[in-house]
Symmetry: C2
Subunit: 250 residues, 2 copies
Amino acid sequence: MLSKNKIKYIRSLEQKKYRKEEKAFLAEGHKLVGDLSGHFECRLVAATSTWLESHPDIKADEIVEVSEEELKKASLLKTPQDVLAVFRIPETDPGTRDIAGSLCLALDDVQDPGNLGTILRTADWFGIRHVFCSIRTADAYNPKTVQATMGALARVRIHYCDLKDLIGTLPDMPVYGTFLDGKNIYGQELTPHGLIVMGNEGKGISQEMEKLVNRRLLIPNYPQGEETSESLNVATATAIVCAEFRRRML
Amino acid sequence: MLSKNKIKYIRSLEQKKYRKEEKAFLAEGHKLVGDLSGHFECRLVAATSTWLESHPDIKADEIVEVSEEELKKASLLKTPQDVLAVFRIPETDPGTRDIAGSLCLALDDVQDPGNLGTILRTADWFGIRHVFCSIRTADAYNPKTVQATMGALARVRIHYCDLKDLIGTLPDMPVYGTFLDGKNIYGQELTPHGLIVMGNEGKGISQEMEKLVNRRLLIPNYPQGEETSESLNVATATAIVCAEFRRRML
């Protein structure tokens, strides 16, 4: 049974303040909990008896069997699933050695939790193991983001840092960004390592970061020159760019 | 000034039932209202005096000057902007002649309004002029979808229909779909015309529709064979596929 205090604790993780205090985040659903357990320290699992019976190996500091009614009270989802879990937020060290030889993403104030989650899922699909987030980027451990990642958090490491400082530690690193006046991505050399900067939903890449981009790309619209939306959604643009980088490496 | 009834009317358009009854949808913000006016019959504009002064040519059955306070009461956004407008939902006729020679999308029960909006924005970017939606696909005139389209509704026509029947009227049409056991998209012939089927967020393409797909594609992950997310977000996958089709035509 879940005490009132425990329910309050679980639900408090909707707020960044409490996630930070507790160094913990919430994940819901059998697929997601299954994907994340084993990758993160698990503090609490609250699940129905059916779920617990079919997962006898689950490891957590605390395992609570709950009724569906109780789960509803603790869940942040419209349609609660059979299980929710609280995991420890890992401390990450963006070691530059790992990074210099690989393809990474840098998110320059991406604000929407859903977009961030989708970007992490895309990064996972394309084998991008490090995503750097500016301090003002949405929190990757926001429950909305966690749910949208579909388990990518298990494989993609997220680092919050000053992106300028990061680039400062990576001399000669190709730094890519997409701009409406960039060069057609399909005609450009794309290196198997480098940093791809993606900007804020409304403002795109900040002026400060734009100065640090040394390879300006464009995802061409079609037919060219015709009236169209001003831009693509940031998660969409990230996906097209990542796909094109990886297409060259297959 | 907006009467209580008018505010109720505007806010009622959050619900599909009332949109259907009124054949009307809501759009908010100066960019979106600007993009859509001229393309749709405008029933009502409610805007601040500042906005109205800078848009003397706006045409609508009814134009109401409102204070920011009033706008807040009518708006469905967290941060209301200077203007909202109610437009008429157009009646569309999916004429097969237009379609047979072009590249179109078919959405097989895409459920999330945000995903749908992002897909329409992507379609616009890539010059896809017709998007066919199964009856159970989210409503394109849901305010969340409308806001996510970023004006694409002005250029992309949306048709709700039985997708099986549609394909029945288009013999010899290439019908593409992505599957985890499909063929690497980068190695396949992609025609400049055809129908690209995208499936539901949880279930993918339905069995019924799968039978009608005659070209099975795969967006390869990287590195191949490595553990990764099970799939991409549907709006993300749509973008990668559309980009690849158009890449061939540049």
